[in-house]
Amino acid sequence: MNPKIKILLIEDDRDIVSFITTSLTVHDYHICNAVTGREGLCLAASLCPDVILLDLGLPDIDGYQVLERLRVWSSVPIIVISAHSEEDEKVTALDLGADDYIIKPFGTAELMARIRTSLRHSFVSVPDRTYRALGLEIDLEKRTVKLNGQIIHLTQTEYQLLALLAQNSGKVLTYRTIIHTIWGPYADNSNQILRVNMANIRRKIEADSAQPQYVFTEVGIGYRMRENENI
């Protein structure tokens, strides 16, 4: 029998803890719970969990601080649980190294999906050099993009953008991360150039750019590419 996947939940609200614990236990995960940030940091170091669920509003230390301290030594997937729907908060958490975020209130199904996604990312040691989803295929070695077998012509920037998203498929990349990676750290922080490039990509790969199949928008935060089916 495979050892159970360990999940560390850093959250102080008892009702939420009990709901998450129940549903995760049913799905055969091993779950540990910390109620304060300090306890969470200790448990993260001693247990080496496979995924950490981190609530940002903790009684002792700020959730962002926990995130920062964890990221110093660990690359474990961290899913942030947030009570606010302000975009700034999510963007800050993602830029500090969180892999994903989930907003209260959330359902079990959504939580499970997020956990599975982040697990998939951490288990892939050597990522396959091809992204494949639905009819889209991106060969990251040959730098070619095919849609239903047909080669799609993209400009240099468009390809870089798509490849960056494909390499992080399933994860939200913030506008800032994308702009800094592609246009360098001194690029203008206005997102217009990114929007225009994204619109052009969508014109080329999506059937209906208002109902995208591959690159999803997270309004006010960034973009998320459909899961790579080739993992």
């Binding site: 208002a210 999803f216 928008t217 997270e218 309004v219």
Partner: protein, 359 residues
Amino acid sequence: MHNTFENFPKLKRHLYSFLLSVCCMAAAAGISLLYRRCMPKPVCANIVMIFLFFVIVVSGLVNSCLYGIACSVFSLLWLRFLFPPRSGYPVMFFGIIPISVFVNTLTSHLTAQAGMIAEHRRQLEEAEKEKMRANLLRAVSHDLRTPLTAIIGSSTAYLENQSQLSEQEKTAIVKNICKDSHWMVNMVENLLTVTRIQGEDLTVSTDIESVEEVIGEALQKTKIRHPGCIIHTKIPDQFIMLPMDAVLIEQVTLNLLDNALRHSESLAPIELIVEDAPKYVFFTVRDYGRGIPEDILDRLFDGSGRAAPSSDAQGNRGIGLVICETIIRAHHGTLTGHNHGKGAEFTFTLPKEKKESFL
């Protein structure tokens, strides 16, 4: 440092008053001199009138009464210069001083009164906004209480009668609780968006956003909320960027789509149409259902037009629309709703150019 800052506007005001008085007096002196020279038979009273006029002007425009008095003294001296002293001079002197003081007090009183009226009007407006907010809050709390009652009732019934209930009944109860809580989430989301519209003058912080992305996400969320729904979209092929608060506009689109799906009582596909006009972009949500009831058509956006009786948990159309209208108004656009013959149609516009915020 702080002190100089404090004094600076005062100093500026005094400089302004001083210059104004000097200009007025110079003008009066010039005119009177001209009058004295050009007229064959100058009358002293006319010159007094000219000076009196300018003294009143100075008193009216300047706050401190010192300037008015100084001007009066100057005018008397000038009068003495133009017309050599006569017997009535002291009387005139003591006559003109009280007049200028009196005019001064009168005008400064008027200024103070105007300030008070403005302040009063501002307070009234504030109270109006506060009232609007309170109305909204009251309506919302009322609407929140309904699903809460249902949730409490169902869960209590479940806990108290567990042993008597069949599996089927239990599932039904829990399903109801789930449905009501989801509805409450929508409600709370709507409320949260309202807090983004900032206090006093109802402004939003806008950014240049891509229309298709915002519409796209709204469509995606609607499809999660209503699995199996069919929405036909018509969006211009060219790429449109508009100044807006993307989260709020997404919420408006979501609410309109949600309303169309819930209230049309029809399974016919709904349409979402984006049209590009020279100054505005039009967004239309059209359904092919029963339409908007006639009796609430003219009060759709004032919060009283609940489409369904409030005991029905689906009746949040009223609040949703009030919020939509507030959001669109804060963007300097318009939201209208009417029946197009085969169903309801809601259209909102967003201006292409960023306007200075005013309302």
